[in-house]
């Protein structure tokens, strides 16, 4: 009985983690959908979110107030990155945007290393735990999970039910036709990149509250996010959550039965395997709603 309880415990942890990964992966997927650009720098936007909230907390701002601030800052940063950098290469072959975002990633990561050094830091918010029977759930993980899920539900709502969402979906499905219908595709692109960066930044704040991180976290994150997006199918919004679940479970289970070193290797292995076996995603790609 004890064994199965433990497995349940690990599964709960995996589920909570998946909720967080889901937010960042949706951002990555949205950017890819609208801009057809694989945002290599997404992990570094996450890092930036984490460290801005960390700096704010050293100034005495509570992390929960820090989250919306980070969201705002990252939204503007994403907007600017799109308008001044990515926009210039968006109609060029993939190699341009890939290398450009790689440059952004190098810039952000090393700026992060300069500002915050390579030491691992974390924020200790709400150290308490909840006990349900013999299961334990840390309070902060639960809170973060709830925020993550509500954020995702909120964005799903916006994407599916509002006019802004409609323009975004139209731009995903057929950018030329959307432009012909009077949608300012340029604006939609900038907006999408901003929203994607916002989601990345908020994911970062979750991470620093749950784990110890350093400015090089983007390296690991981007591969996990690509694994998630690839398992779910690039451009497939719902598949992203399945992907998040698969990757988070693989990570928590190997972390539990072996060590974290092995969980990294397991995630990379999953990533390479999913790339090689089903580059179109487990659920197939293309469906964006």
């Amino acid at each position: 009985m004890r064994g199965s309880l433990l497995v349940l415990q690990v599964m709960i942890n995996g589920l909570l983690l998946a909720g967080i990964y889901g937010v960042a992966a949706v951002g990555l997927n949205l950017i890819f959908g609208v801009l057809r650009v694989a945002n290599i720098a997404h992990g570094d936007f996450i890092m930036l979110g984490a460290f801005i909230v960390y700096s704010l907390s050293t100034l005495g701002v509570s992390p929960l107030i820090g989250i919306p601030i980070v969201g705002g800052v990252l939204f503007v940063l994403g907007l600017l990155t799109e308008r001044f950098l990515v926009e210039k290469v968006v109609y060029q072959p993939m190699a341009y945007s890939l290398l450009l975002l790689y440059a952004v990633s190098i810039l952000l990561r090393n700026a992060g290393l300069n500002l915050w050094t390579s030491n691992y830091v974390s924020l200790n918010v709400m150290p308490g735990t909840l006990h349900i029977g013999s299961l334990t759930i840390s309070e902060i993980r639960l809170v973060v999970f709830i925020i993550a899920v509500s954020l995702t539900v909120f964005f799903t709502f916006i994407l599916n039910k509002t006019m802004v969402g409609k323009t975004i979906r139209a731009s995903i499905q057929h950018p030329d036709l959307a432009g012909a219908c009077g949608i300012d595709v340029r604006k939609v692109r900038a907006l999408t990149f901003g929203v994607g960066s916002l989601l990345a930044g908020i994911t970062g704040t979750f991470f620093i509250m749950l784990f110890s991180v350093n400015p090089e976290m983007g390296d690991m994150m981007i591969l996990k996010l690509f694994a998630i997006v690839i398992v779910g199918g690039l451009g497939n919004y719902l598949g992203t959550f399945v992907g998040a679940l698969v990757v988070a479970m693989a990570e928590t289970f190997t972390g539990f039965y072996a060590t974290t070193e092995y969980s990294d290797v397991a995630v990379f292995f999953l990533f390479l395997l999913s790339l090689i076996l089903r580059p179109q995603g487990l659920l197939g790609g293309g469906k964006t709603t």
Partner: protein
């Protein structure tokens, strides 16, 4: 202004340059020799990256994975089998090349961002694997090797490698084989439809790149006489080789050389003056190159007709088809 050289003076110039370079360790100070040999390593790596990404257009963000394979093979061969270092470095090049055949066939099925990120993943995967496979790699403790007896051996090894890769690229540029390789970048489906076996050409470029990277890794590991997961898979070098090839001009045979020589100097200067900012500057430089001179220095000269030759764009041109990359293409 066109620079025209017939073959004979070209060979002459090349031999004189080689002779001068060969004399460096005999006359120059240790500092200069160290600097120049590092430059040769940069040149070799830039050419290796250029081979796969410059000519086929498959952007690799993890070619350093093969450098790491070379480093570890060489260290293990020296440490466990007591093989003399130069032989070990040559063997590690072959090991990296041999491993590149299955790796290349698998990875090159991926296209565009999938390949780029896939190579990044491969690089991280191998680094993580090296950290946990303790029986073979000694994990994070690393493997210590006997110190280098004479710097000039390392110098000549790197010089030889750089020259070999330069000549290979030159040969490629002037052969039908190279033309076929370039078709992969221009239009892979079109190339296939006229009967070019693109898989073979891509895999070939990948293997040559692996041979270069593996050899460089093997020499470097003997030079620093130590290997652990971070020195075998150096992220900074991974960035540097890409920026060097791009600065000079991707997919040209002078490009990587020019990029490496220029950026080698700049690196040295930045290290000395802005040790903390130098990767930030690299990031900004990379962004600048992509935005304003995507075909690098060579492309800049070609565009202004200052050099003979076609001056084809190092990065594939033409409007991008706004089609979702489903991986099935």
């Amino acid at each position: 202004m066109k620079i025209r050289l017939s073959l004979l003076p070209r060979v002459g110039l090349f031999s004189i340059a080689l002779l001068i370079l060969a004399l460096v360790p005999a006359i120059a100070s240790t500092y200069i020799v160290t600097f120049v040999l590092t430059l040769f390593m940069y040149i070799a790596l830039a050419y290796s990256w250029n081979f796969i990404s410059g000519y086929t257009g498959y952007i690799s963000f993890g070619q350093i994975a093969l450098f790491g394979i070379g480093s570890y093979s060489c260290a293990i061969l020296i440490f466990k089998c007591n093989i003399p270092w130069f032989l070990a470095a040559a063997m590690s090049s072959l090991i990296a090349g041999a491993l590149a055949i299955p790796l290349g066939l698998i990875m090159l099925r991926l296209k565009g961002p999938y390949f780029a990120v896939g190579m990044m993943g491969l690089f991280q995967f191998l680094a993580a694997l090296a950290a946990i496979w303790k029986s073979l790699t000694n994990g994070a403790t690393g493997i210590y090797l006997p110190p280098v007896s004479a710097l000039s051996y390392i110098y000549f090894a790197f010089l030889g490698l750089a020259v070999a890769l330069f000549l290979a690229t030159w040969k490629l540029e002037h052969s039908v084989f190279g033309l076929r390789l370039k078709t992969v970048k221009e239009d892979e489906e079109g190339a296939e439809s006229v009967g070019i076996n693109t898989t073979f050409y891509k895999a070939f470029a990948f293997v040559v790149s692996a041979l270069g990277c593996g050899f460089a890794g093997g020499i470097e590991v003997f030079y620093v006489s130590y290997v652990d997961p971070t020195t075998a898979f150096p992220a900074v070098l991974n960035i540097t080789m890409i920026i060097m090839a791009l600065l000079g001009g991707m997919g040209t045979y002078w490009g990587p050389l020019i990029g490496a020589v220029l950026l080698g100097q700049v690196s040295e200067f930045l290290w000395a003056h802005f040790p903390y900012f130098y990767l930030i500057i690299y990031g900004a430089l990379l962004a600048f190159i992509i935005m304003f001179m995507p075909s690098g220095i060579m492309g800049y000269f070609h565009k202004r007709k200052m050099l003979k030759g076609g001056g084809d764009s190092p990065l594939p041109d033409g409007p991008m088809t706004l089609k979702p990359a489903t991986g099935k293409e």
